[in-house]
Symmetry: C2
Subunit: 210 residues, 2 copies
């Protein structure tokens, strides 16, 4: 089947939204924790986490400023801090519920049953129920001109994770320690490891690693 640009533009709005969001494949579902200047917490589900660089460590998030994630964006710009918390598969329904349009004075931590957790370094709350948690500092942002979305880039200040989740090689056992994959806006997946492959070289087949 061949679907052209004009076909996509003629789709009913929700059909187009599901279809195009699906095209970009799997991402991780993450909860972004922030607080405003008064310490009022906010928690929002994102599927747009992006690796920007390892040295130094930077992560990106894409924002559509007109959505409920507006509280998250405002808090990050005012405090300069936020947390990214991977969602364990067992908490998918609670995490999805944070995308409901709660009023600003209601914290999604309370409304959706998550527990705020703090470290000495950040005023932004982590999600205690999450296994792999990242604390970040705002660095810069880019306004994507074609549709007014914003790519916001943060520096990794600290990572909280169970000792057993990190191998000596630096790899994180994401599947075992709780990250859920998402396709589109609403379909959640658990990931089953197929293979880890060695550095590819032109003259040999990739080696399977332990």
């Amino acid at each position: 089947m061949r679907i052209l640009f004009t076909d996509i533009m003629q789709m009913e709005r929700l059909v187009r939204q599901a279809f195009v969001n699906g095209l970009s494949g799997f991402r991780s579902a993450v909860l972004v924790g922030t607080a405003n200047a008064a310490g009022q917490t906010n928690l929002a589900l994102f599927n747009s986490l992006t690796h920007i660089g390892a040295n130094p460590p930077y992560l990106g998030l894409l924002f559509r400023p007109t959505t409920v994630a507006r509280h998250t964006y405002d808090n990050i710009r005012r405090t300069g801090q936020y947390t990214i918390n991977h969602v364990p598969p067992a908490m998918v329904q609670q995490a999805h519920q944070t995308s409901a349009k709660y009023p600003a004075e209601i914290s999604e931590f309370d409304a959706c049953g998550f527990t705020p957790q703090y470290t000495p370094l950040l005023s932004a709350p982590y999600v205690e129920e999450s296994s792999i948690k990242i604390g970040l500092e705002y660095v810069e942002e880019y306004l994507i001109e074609v549709n007014d979305t914003i790519l916001l880039i943060g520096k990794v200040l600290e990572v909280l994770l169970p000792e057993a989740a990190m191998l000596a090689s630096g790899h994180i056992n994401m599947e075992e320690w709780g990250s859920t994959a998402v396709n589109g806006l609403d379909t959640y997946y658990s990931a089953e490891r197929l293979i880890r492959l060695g550095y590819a070289r032109p003259d040999q087949q990739p080696e399977s690693m332990v």
Copy 2:
């Protein structure tokens, strides 16, 4: 365990690379097909596919211009066209092998055993072995100043997929029709569907959809 920014900066280079790349969780492994002005094909593995917008349909790819993906970037800038092809789990080793540093005159299609496929609309090659294929046109790019990576944005011109892979709701059955998840640079996963959830509202629990 708490790992600080300074701990990350002191990690051995490959350990840091594995660790920070792992933090961003699951993405989809995709093959990007391009051709130069003379029609010489190129195929490169990416894990940085990003949803930018649905209306109109835009997708983003992050480039580190100094890597092997340089041929891909050059071809896109010269021809304005490229394809994104989801990798079925059975083809992960072949797909990974495209990341080896082949000389410019060798096509990864030939070297790694993929078949170029063309439509009347694009000069860039699709991957015949892939089930879900997207043809794109270059729109704009942003240089990420913190580390000189490039976010390149393309408009979706056409999508090729099996009729049975798309539901009436617009959802794509990604797990059934062949997309592989990847964490970090080298660990591949198949995705097992947990649940599809309805639009979240403050006063009710999210509904599970068929």
